[in-house]
Structure formats: structure tokens, C-alpha cells
């Protein structure tokens, strides 16, 4: 890693000030906030990011709480660890998909330290991005090398000019739970629905979300809903022991007393630069029972518009399988 200044922040306000006051010639030198550091440090070790200052958020009190319940909705501090999220009784019972998503991430060693905020803000896994000596489009160069190169793990939806897939499992699941992301920064606090938090590369290929300079995620809220308790996260990994998702699917369903679908949420992960919500597939389920036919139809619709690159057409049948399996597991209340 390059040398940097380290500051233990005492409050969100001071953290923002500590981030804002460092000027950087280049984007990758900007001051960075750090919580668990499990992704930030890997980018710093290879000098993908070379922040002049790292601001420790863990010394801020009150950012790591998990509060609320099924009837009030949840408020999860950005510094809550993945280990805390996967085992929290309120989450495992009433927001099970979120617990499953947290549990599916990486390994015990990582989850003991990694946090909600860091997981949402982690950088992509595209190997061209991660290779220190390749200046791809996202890093300020002029070519996305995955587009015509080794793109087995890249996007089949929403891609262009960068074809990364978003790596966060929590993001995909939270998108299915209608979450809201609370941000604070030099211009003060603001809330952003998760569907607007992540951004497509067509907006700005060098970032993955709406955070502006010196802004940090402080909390995520998940509203009470009739479908949160009936949620699931299905993640397929090429290597089960340790891997990012090859494809993932988050689903949540509210069933009416007659077992037909009243509300549905369906989001695909690892297929697009953002969590890929599929409203057409959701709409097709409304009013229908969850059976093989309706599930199959939804799975087909979910992949509508998919444009595979040379090496990733397999993601289409794989994503359909995961959608089917996710919805199948929600057949009964």
C-alpha cells in the first residue's frame, strides 16, 4: 500500500470533514472512509486506490446498531458486521432473505469484520479492474477490456460502456426488500431508495453508486412489508468454498389467503452493473399461484433483454434456474 494518513473519526460530521478536507489530483487519491476494510484494503494493496487519507468510521458511536422488527421495519447501521446481520434473531426470523444473503458472503474470517456499508460500496471484481497494471475504462482508460475480451463473469444486462457486474449480495437482497440508503456528507444527510443508489455505467463508468465526494453511507432502512418475512436469497458460485456470485437471485413474495401472489419482488444479482430488478417478471406473478407454470414464465421474463457477451451466455439459463428455485422455495408461507 502507499502511505496514507489515518484518522479515527469521532462523529459522522467529523468524518465528513476529514474526508472533504483532503484534496486529490486524481479520483483514486481521494480520502476514503473505512469500516471493515475487507475490500478497501485489497484495492489499496494493489494501488488501484491510493487514498491520501483513510478515515476510520468504527470509532463513531452508534453506527452499528440493528433496530426494529417486522412491524416497524429495520434500521441497520452501516457499521453492522455481516456476522451480526446473518445471526440477528429479528433478521433470521422476519427478513430471512437478508440473513441468507449475509451468510452467503465469503468466509467466516471476512464476515466477522466486513460491514453493511462496506459491502454496498465495494468495488467490482472484474479482473481487468483488479489488475494493477491494466488501465481499463473504469479506471480512467478508454477501453472496457471485458467487452471483447475474457468476459465470462461480466454483465448480460445493463452493460455498456463498462460491463462489470455489481458484486454485493446485500445490495441485491436489499433491492428486493425496498430498502432505503441513508447518506451523509458535506451537503448534509439524504436518503436514497436503493433502486436509485446504484448507477449504471452509462451514467458514469468510473463509479458504481451515487455517493459524492466525502459522502458516507450511515444506515439502511428496510420497511415493514408483507413480503419481507417471505424472502429468500439464492446464490450460485463457481467455487462453493470462496467465490463471488456467478449469478444470484433475491425474491420476496406476499401470498394472499388463496395462495395467489399479491406482491412480488424479484432481483437478479451478478448479471448487471447494478442489482437488476425485474418488474415485468414480478407483474406476471401477481394474482397467480406460485406453481411450475407461473414460476417458469416469470423466470423467462426475468431474462428478457439479456444480451450475452462472447463467453457469458450460460448466465441466462443459470439465472432462470435460480429464479425458479428462489420462487419455488416461497411456494408456501
Amino acid at each position: 500500500m502507499k502511505q496514507f494518513e489515518w484518522a479515527n473519526a469521532t462523529s459522522v460530521q467529523s468524518a465528513v470533514k476529514l474526508l472533504a478536507e483532503v484534496s486529490a489530483d486524481e479520483q483514486n487519491e481521494s480520502a476514503r472512509p473505512m469500516s471493515g476494510g475487507q475490500d478497501l484494503l485489497t484495492t489499496m494493496k494493489e494501488r488501484i486506490l491510493v487514498p491520501k487519507r483513510v478515515v476510520n468510521l468504527k470509532t463513531i458511536q452508534g453506527l452499528d446498531g440493528i433496530d426494529g422488527d417486522a412491524s416497524t421495519g429495520l434500521k441497520i447501521g452501516a457499521l453492522a458486521t455481516l456476522a451480526e446481520i446473518e445471526s440477528h434473531p429479528e433478521i433470521t426470523k422476519n427478513f430471512p432473505g437478508l440473513a441468507q444473503a449475509a451468510h452467503s458472503i465469503a468466509t467466516v474470517q471476512l464476515r466477522n469484520v466486513a460491514t453493511l456499508g462496506g459491502n454496498l460500496c465495494q468495488r467490482p471484481r472484474c479482473w481487468y479492474f483488479r489488475l494493477p497494471h491494466i488501465v481499463c475504462l473504469k479506471k480512467g482508460g478508454d477501453t472496457c477490456y471485458s467487452e471483447k475480451g475474457e468476459n465470462k463473469y461480466n454483465a448480460i444486462l445493463g452493460g455498456g460502456p463498462s460491463f462489470i457486474v455489481h458484486p454485493s449480495d446485500l445490495a441485491t437482497m436489499l433491492a428486493a426488500l425496498d430498502a432505503t440508503v441513508s447518506i451523509n456528507g458535506p451537503k448534509g444527510p439524504r436518503d436514497v431508495p436503493i433502486g436509485k443508489f446504484f448507477t449504471l455505467p452509462s451514467d458514469n463508468a468510473s463509479v458504481e453508486n451515487v455517493l459524492e465526494d466525502a459522502e458516507i453511507v450511515t444506515q439502511v432502512q428496510i420497511p415493514a412489508s408483507a413480503f419481507a418475512a417471505h424472502s429468500t436469497y439464492v446464490k450460485f458460485k463457481e467455487r462453493s468454498s470462496l467465490d463471488f456470485a456467478m449469478v444470484a437471485a433475491a425474491a420476496a413474495v406476499e401470498l394472499a389467503p388463496d395462495q395467489t401472489v399479491r406482491q412480488a419482488r424479484l432481483v437478479l444479482g451478478a448479471v448487471a452493473p447494478i442489482p437488476w430488478r425485474v418488474p415485468k417478471a414480478e407483474a406476471a406473478l401477481i394474482g397467480k399461484p406460485l406453481n411450475d407454470d407461473s414460476i417458469k414464465a416469470a423466470a423467462e421474463l426475468a431474462l428478457d433483454g439479456a444480451k450475452p457477451l462472447e463467453h457469458n451466455a450460460y448466465k441466462i439459463p443459470l439465472a432462470k434456474t435460480l429464479v425458479r428455485r428462489a420462487l419455488n422455495s416461497l411456494k408456501t408461507a
Binding site: K2, Q3, L131, I134, F236, E238, S241, L242, F244, P317
Partner: protein
């Protein structure tokens, strides 16, 4: 031996050949012995080269080429040298030199911390003239491909043809009358050793005449010539040490370029230097296992005879020639035409990788055998047996088939109802090995009874220390805890280089001879105390006895001189042999809706003559199966053809198997029907057949024949689409 009256016409009888005795009559050998070094390896007290810290030690770091092919147009180390804490730097290339692969070392620095060394490497100012490259075999063989070896007349279109054997026309004729013909190309990618301990050398030199070099290497004695030359010292003033090493698998010999650069830095700085490769460097400049491209046309008759094989083999070894075992591997064919060569690319040269050339050759041939069997509608196991003559293979196949439950297998792929499909596959391997006379073992017995056996040889994790102790303890009638060992130091007796599965066969006989020599010496001294002849003295139960009298070990040793005794042992013939076989069976479950392949059960059978330590042999067999899972399902270097770089040079993206890739049951079986009373090394043979067995099981499960490893989910899904 009966006494004979000396006679002018009778030659003295030759000494009885040395023998270990029947395999089932050992007290310690051929039993399950915990490793004698486990207390150190489990408590962080085993010191690997990577752990060595000496006073004043600097940390080295290498700058390597980011390009597959480039000329250096300028090189300026001074910005690095200006950084506080950077002590020295050395260039390995000159302006005008050409770099020929991503990873080609350019320069090295030494600094007081690893962090500052990394700063220094980033500060070096290099300018390149980027040249065209070819980093895939397909690109390399094109007529307009840039030549990797432009001046080598033996290379055309980056292809080096080696030899050809047999007559192609005869084979073509034979194919005409075959009942089943398979024409297939098989590919395996470049693989990586992925030793957990990266290549590392610590050069403990501070100017002057002597140096000690710690190096993670497969040959203790291979350290000294490299280091002495680089340091400009006489060899006898350089000590090489490798007491523990974190894996070699064929990639580590001598001190490597990293060790040489460490030596130069150390010389320049007048201070010790530790040079450990970082993981990305390890992937692109520390060797790899060559890939393969094999094109078959083969035929069989309906009675299950393999009648004709036409095979073109190419080893893909980057700058190197790679290696590829010959075809039709273990099987007998009526007529064979085989041509073999290498395709060169702008990639770092391959190095031996555990049974070099065999796993890829086995994968191709065993896939081919299966494909022919299915075409004949014959049980692939039966088809194999009809084309094997070696008893060991036949009985190993039978045993494996029984253990895995081959009888549960369906001849029709995809027969299991539902999306989760089960299948079975098998494969065989063959290896040489053996042992030679390089090892000189020293055995000391002290007057207080302490026993110490030593040899400069090394232990890659194979269990060398443990069998050294066991051989001595068994020979002298002692417990394992009575014998101490020393290895991995050039101040000890000569040791062999660990390669080819020859260490056990080279070292254990020398240890036995040393132990026998010790017995002879002790017997001479103790016999008079027992009122017996030396030839009557027996060493057993921690006692030395004869003539109805016994002394316990410590009492007996009191009869030794004050300095104890010291004997040497060298290898003698008869105690080791080459010639290992091996078979592997796999049962897999393929999720046809996701493409996921899970190995459910895996069985490896290995013959090894006399197993010195059953626990260690079993672990080797397990290890081969685990690496086979990686080769079959997960591993392979991925190159970006345009950029000329390896895109998956990390442990996240080059995927070695972990806990969840393990089958429910993994069963290592020692083939005790091999009653050879000789040590046959098994470091490599168990890693040969597993990947092939898995590939065949996948086809049996779901009907998708993947001819290019690894068999990843995308290939299954696209194969089923």
C-alpha cells in the same frame, strides 16, 4: 549363512542382498505414524524460509514486465534509490534487452521494510517499446504470429516438433476396419502449483567470506551453487538451509531468479536480504504446469480391442518445451502413430508440476477410452481391462470398482431422474520413480543413549523426517521418541533433489544402512558385556540382548566411547524400486440446471511397494485426489490474448479447491497386493488419474463430454443447451 571351509577353489559367497523383509512384518514401518514434526507445524514454531528474520535484514521486491513482449528503451533506478529506507537496487536487464513474457524480471530493490520496497518498485522509471505477442496456442500457430524464438530453426509457426513414432498410413488403414472410431481434440490449460509458501530466499550475508542462504526449494544442495556464484563466494563457505518448506510440487529448484537477485542485492548492500515473491508475481514468474493440446483419431473393434491410435500431442509450456507423457498412455493398442511437440507462447516457461506431463496425457487418453467404450456400448471399465496387461492395473481397477460401487452405475448417461444426475468414472496412472545413491546419512549414538539421524535432504511435506526416525527406531529396537532427526542443511550429509518421487527411494535405504552400521558398531562394543559374539546381539524392545542376558538401551550405550559412535550410511540396491501404478474412481453429482459438479465419493488406490508410513502415503493419495478436483473442475490460467496478460493471477480468480469442494467421502487405499519389499515413491503417482476419473464421471452423469478442462458450470450448461 552356513560356515564353509575356506578352499582355494571356492569363491567367498556374496553378501545376502539387503532386504526390508516382508512388508507385513514391520513394527514401525508400514504402520500409521504421526509426523514427528507435527508439534512444530501446528504451533507456529516450524520456521520456514518465509519466517526467517536475521538482524539487519532488508526486504527485497522485484519489478517485472507488465507486457508479454517488449523492449526496454530506458531504465532508471534512481527515483527508487532516493526513497528513504531503500538501500540498494539492481537491474537484471539492460536498455535494449527484450522482455518475453508478463512477469519477466527487470530489476530488484532492497529496503528496510516490505512497504518501502514496494514503494521503490513503483518508483523505478522504465520505458518500453511494446512488441507484438502471442499468448494463446491458437494465436501462436497462425502464420503471421510473432515468433517467440525467431532464430531457432527447429521452431516453425511457434511450433517445435519433437519426434514421431510409428507409421501414420498403417494406422489409417487399421482405422478403416475399426467398429468404432473416435476423433477428438482434448485441451488442458496451463495450471499453477499454488504453493502456499511463495518462492523465497533469505540471503544472510553481510559482506565477508561466508553466507547462509535459507531457501524454499526442493533441493537443499541446489542452494549452494546458485548462491555461491551470485555472491562470488566459494561454495564451501556457503551454507544452504531448508528445514521446512511450504510446498514445491515441482516448481522450486535452486534459489531461482528471486534468490539470485537477493544475492546481488545483499552483496551490494552488504546486508542480509529476504526476497519473497508476492502472490501475483508467483503466478507469472515462478513457473506453471504446462497445458496440452492433443488430437486423437482412434479405433476399436467390437470385442473391445483398441486397434489403432493416431495422436498428435502439443505441450504448451510458454517459453519452455513443457512436457506430455506419451500415448496411448497405459493402454495397449494394435498400431500407434504418435507425434509430439511443443507450441511456444510469450508466457513464462513451465516447470515440472507433480508427475509432469502425466495428468494431461491421462485425461486425454482416459476420456478417449471412455468415448470409444460408449460408442461400442461397452462398460468403460471392461473396455479398459481388455487393453491392459499389467496385473497391478487390473487388480486396482477391480478393487476400486468394488469400493465405489461401480455396479450402481448406469451405462446410459443422464439416467438419474430429476435435475441432479449421478455418474461414475475411472482412470489409471503410471509412474517411474525409484531411488539413487545421492544420500549420505549420518547416525550418531551418544553414550547417554541419544540417537540422532541426519541428512541434508529436505521434506516438502512428504514426511521425510518421520520415516528417517522410523527406519532407525525399528532397526535399533527403539521407540519413535528415542530418535531425533536433522535435515535440510548443507552441513549435513549429501541429499538428493526431490523430483520424480525419488526421495524416499534414495534416502530410506541409506538410513537403513546407517542403522545397520550402527548396530554393527554397538554390537561389537556390547557383545563382550553379554558374553556373546557380536553376530548374536539382538536389538529389540529398547534392549540390547544376547546369550539370555539383556541390557536396556541406556545401559548398553554406556559401553560406547565418551564421544559415542558416528556411522554413515549410503544407498544400496535392493531396497528401492521404481514402477508405480494407481487408479482413481469418482462418483459425481451434476446439477443439470446450474452446471455445478459435486464430487460425491472418490477413491484412490496406489501401490508403493513397502509403505514407509501408511498415514503419510494415504495423505499423498488424498492430496492427489484433491489436486485432481482442482484440475478437473476449477483450475486454469486465463490469458487475455490482446493484452498478453494473465487475468486470473490471484487466489480469488485462480480457484484451487477448498473445504466445500471435498466429497462426502474420500478414500485413500494402499494396494497391499503389491508385496514388493522395496520402497517405491508416491509423491506424484496419486495425482495422475483423478481429474480423468472425474471427467468421465461427469459424462456418465449428464451426457456432456467436456474435452477442455476445467469442467466449469458454464460448459455443462452450454453443453446441455
Amino acid at each position: 549363512m552356513a560356515a564353509t571351509k575356506p578352499s582355494a577353489t571356492t569363491k567367498p559367497a556374496p553378501p545376502a542382498p539387503l532386504s526390508w523383509g516382508p512388508n507385513n512384518k514391520h513394527r514401525l514401518l508400514n504402520t500409521r505414524l504421526p509426523r514427528v514434526d507435527f508439534p512444530y507445524k501446528t504451533t507456529g514454531t516450524a520456521i520456514y524460509s518465509h519466517d526467517v528474520k536475521v538482524p539487519g535484514m532488508l526486504h527485497g521486491r522485484i519489478l517485472r514486465s507488465p507486457y508479454a513482449h517488449a523492449k526496454i528503451t530506458s531504465l532508471d533506478l534512481s527515483p527508487a534509490l532516493k526513497i528513504p529506507g531503500v538501500k540498494t537496487a539492481v537491474a537484471r536487464v539492460n536498455v535494449g534487452d527484450t522482455l518475453r513474457f508478463e512477469g519477466d524480471p527487470i530489476a530488484a530493490v532492497a529496503a528496510v521494510t516490505t512497504e518501502i520496497a514496494e514503494d521503490a518498485v513503483h518508483a523505478i522509471d522504465v520505458k518500453y517499446d511494446v512488441l507484438p505477442h502471442a499468448v494463446t496456442a491458437e494465436d501462436a500457430i497462425k502464420p503471421d504470429a510473432p515468433p517467440v524464438y525467431p532464430n531457432d530453426k527447429a521452431v516453425e509457426n511457434n511450433t517445435r516438433h519433437a519426434n514421431a513414432r510409428g507409421d501414420a498410413d498403417t494406422v489409417a488403414d487399421a482405422l478403416k476396419s475399426a467398429d468404432a472410431v473416435v476423433e477428438a481434440e482434448y485441451r488442458t490449460p496451463i495450471l499453477h502449483h499454488c504453493c502456499l509458501e511463495t518462492h523465497v530466499a533469505v540471503v544472510d550475508y553481510s559482506g565477508g567470506d561466508t553466507a547462509t542462504v535459507y531457501c524454499s526449494t526442493q533441493g537443499t544442495f541446489s542452494i549452494v551453487p546458485d548462491a555461491a556464484e551470485s555472491l562470488g563466494l566459494t561454495a564451501s563457505n556457503v551454507t544452504g538451509i531448508v528445514r521446512h518448506m511450504g510446498g514445491g510440487f515441482g516448481s522450486k529448484g535452486g534459489i531461482g531468479i528471486e534468490g539470485r537477485l537477493a544475492c546481488e542485492l545483499s552483496k551490494q548492500a552488504g546486508a542480509p536480504v529476504k526476497m519473497a515473491l508476492v502472490r501475483r508475481d508467483e503466478f507469472v514468474m515462478a513457473g506453471n504446469g504446462p497445458g496440452s493440446w492433443q488430437k486423437f483419431r482412434a479405433g476399436a473393434t467390437k470385442d473391445g480391442k483398441l486397434t489403432a491410435v493416431h495422436i498428435e500431442q502439443y505441450a504448451l509450456g510458454g517459453l519452455g518445451r513443457g512436457s506430455l507423457a506419451g500415448q496411448p498412455y497405459v493402454y495397449h493398442a494394435g498400431v500407434v502413430y504418435r507425434s509430439a511437440g511443443s507450441i511456444h507462447t510469450n508466457e513464462d516457461s513451465s516447470r515440472p508440476l507433480r508427475a509432469p506431463g502425466h495428468p494431461p496425457a491421462c485425461f486425454a487418453m482416459e476420456s478417449l477410452m471412455d468415448e470409444l467404450a460408449y460408442k461400442l456400448n461397452m462398460d468403460p471399465l471392461e473396455f479398459r481391462k481388455r487393453n491392459l496387461t499389467d496385473d497391478a492395473h487390473l487388480r486396482q481397477l477391480d478393487r476400486g470398482a468394488k469400493e465405489i460401487g461401480w455396479i450402481r452405475r448406469s451405462q446410459t448417461p443422464g439416467a438419474t431422474p430429476g435435475p441432479l444426475k449421478r455418474g461414475f468414472g475411472c482412470a489409471c496412472g503410471i509412474w517411474g520413480g525409484g531411488g539413487g545413491p545421492q544420500c549420505a546419512v549420518d547416525l550418531k549414538v551418544a553414550q547417554d543413549g541419544a540417537v540422532n539421524v541426519s541428512c541434508g535432504s529436505q521434506d516438502l511435506g512428504t514426511g521425510t523426517r518421520t520415516y528417517m526416525v522410523a527406519v532407525v527406531a525399528e532397526e535399533l529396537g527403539l521407540a519413535m521418541s528415542d530418535v531425533k532427526e536433522n535435515i535440510g542443511d548443507t552441513r549435513l550429509g549429501n541429499g538428493n533433489f526431490s523430483g520424480g518421487s525419488t526421495t524416499a527411494g534414495s534416502l530410506s535405504p541409506a538410513v537403513k544402512v546407517a542403522a545397520m552400521n550402527a548396530k554393527t558398531e554397538i554390537a561389537k562394543l556390547v557383545a563382550p558385556l553379554l558374553g556373546a559374539q557380536p553376530a548374536d546381539v539382538v536389538f529389540a524392545d529398547r534392549k540390547v540382548s544376547a546369550n539370555g542376558k539383556a541390557l536396556d538401551w541406556t545401559q548398553a550405550c554406556a559401553a560406547l566411547p565418551a564421544a559415542g559412535i558416528a556411522v554413515r550410511g549410503q544407498w544400496k540396491p535392493g531396497l528401492s524400486a521404481g514402477g508405480a501404478h494407481g487408479a482413481c474412481f469418482a462418483e459425481v453429482e451434476v446439477d443439470t440446471e446450474t452446471g455445478h459438479v459435486q464430487v460425491v465419493r472418490m477413491i484412490g488406490i496406489q501401490d508403493c511397494g513397502l509403505p514407509l508410513n501408511r498415514l503419510a502415503v494415504e495423505s499423498q493419495i488424498n492430496g492427489g485426489m484433491v489436486q485432481g478436483i482442482g484440475m478437473a473442475l476449477l483450475e486454469g490460467r486465463v490469458m487475455d490474448a490482446k493484452l498478453g496478460v494473465m487475468v486470473n493471477s490471484s487466489f480469488m480468480d485462480y480457484k484451487i479447491p477448498g473445504c466445500l469442494e471435498m466429497p462426502q467421502e474420500m478414500l485413500p487405499l494402499i494396494d497391499d497386493d503389491d508385496t514388493r519389499q522395496q520402497v517405491v515413491g508416491v509423491g506424484e503417482p496419486p495425482s495422475i488419474p483423478p481429474a480423468a476419473a472425474i471427467a468421465n464421471a461427469v459424462f456418465n452423469a449428464c451426457g456432456v463430454r467436456v474435452r477442455e478442462l476445467p469442467i466449469t458450470p458454464d460448459k455443462i450448461l452450454m453443453g446441455l443447451a
